[in-house]
């Protein structure tokens, strides 16, 4: 069904995949589709960029999300004093009592838990090659755009307008976070794009 996407809309999807791969991600999500559309060489691309949705802006937001997901509060084996204080546990008081009972530094030995096998085997860092899988929401966006285009004319393929409007209506957390980070209101932007063609 999605094989029917042509022209600049098709180029946007191809840019989305290239961007996902460049960022080291092993899937194409709605946020990558937004990146692809932001680079479109037509009135829709211009309207997106005029509203602050530039390829650079989207990429920065995606990178921020990636960094956010990778940043643990304290490394494994670290005791997060502030987080414990937040639930009423005074780490210094615990430490003082344990030092009394078991000698100084008793609490400072990391627990060194053995990781379960599935954790170690996680294939995360393998360099993605070939076609990347597309997320459920991104697939839904493409399908909706195809369906909407075919509603007017059974032979019509979705253009960047249809793709952008479908995308702005999708409830995907990463896409929402990117748009919020760029200070964009999805319904208002969708209305503006809808008036272009």
């Amino acid at each position: 069904m999605t094989g029917r996407i042509e022209g600049e809309a098709r180029a946007a999807v191809i840019r989305a995949q290239a961007e996902a791969r460049r960022l080291g991600q092993d899937f194409i999500g709605c946020e990558h589709l937004l990146y692809g559309l932001a680079g479109a060489d037509d009135t829709v691309g211009t309207a997106l960029r005029d509203n602050g949705v530039t390829p650079e802006g989207v990429e920065n937001q995606i990178q921020r999300l990636i960094a956010d997901n990778r940043a643990p509060s304290a490394g494994p084996g670290e005791l997060d004093r502030d987080a414990l204080a937040a639930i009423g546990i005074d780490l210094d008081a615990v430490r003082a009592r344990l030092d009394d009972a078991f000698g100084p530094g008793s609490l400072d030995r990391p627990a060194r838990r053995p990781r379960p096998a599935w954790f170690a085997r996680r294939p995360g860092r393998r360099a993605p090659s070939g076609h990347l899988p597309i997320t459920r929401q991104a697939r839904m966006c493409l399908d909706r755009a195809v369906t909407a285009a075919a509603a007017d004319d059974p032979d019509a393929a979705p253009d960047t307008t249809g793709l952008t409007i479908a995308l702005l209506d999708i409830d995907a957390s990463a896409l929402r976070a990117v748009l919020t980070g760029l200070g964009v209101s999805p319904p208002r932007l969708a209305a503006e794009i809808g008036q272009l063609g």
């Binding site: 304290a74 502030d82 204080a85 937040a86 030995r109």
Partner: protein
């Protein structure tokens, strides 16, 4: 003036970032306490079964988790 822990408590009320970190820190703390207590119990001559009963797990679980460390030290 608020102490740093009072500020942290305010932030903890609904913020998942603080709440989830607290869970992770609590797990790490519990792990360390378990090691200290199990080691101490073994030194005092407690059986694996006695330790397991207090921890609320099976003897096999305790032995699999802590047995290798004991053997390393001997």
């Amino acid at each position: 003036m608020e102490s740093s822990s009072e500020i942290a408590e305010d932030a903890a009320s609904r913020d998942p970032d603080v709440g989830l970190r607290a869970v992770a820190a609590l797990r790490e703390l519990a792990e360390r306490l378990e090691i200290l207590q199990v080691d101490n119990a073994r030194r005092l001559g407690w059986s694996w079964q006695q330790i397991a009963t207090r921890l609320g797990v099976t003897k096999q679980t305790v032995h699999r988790k802590h047995g290798p460390r004991m053997r390393e030290r001997e």
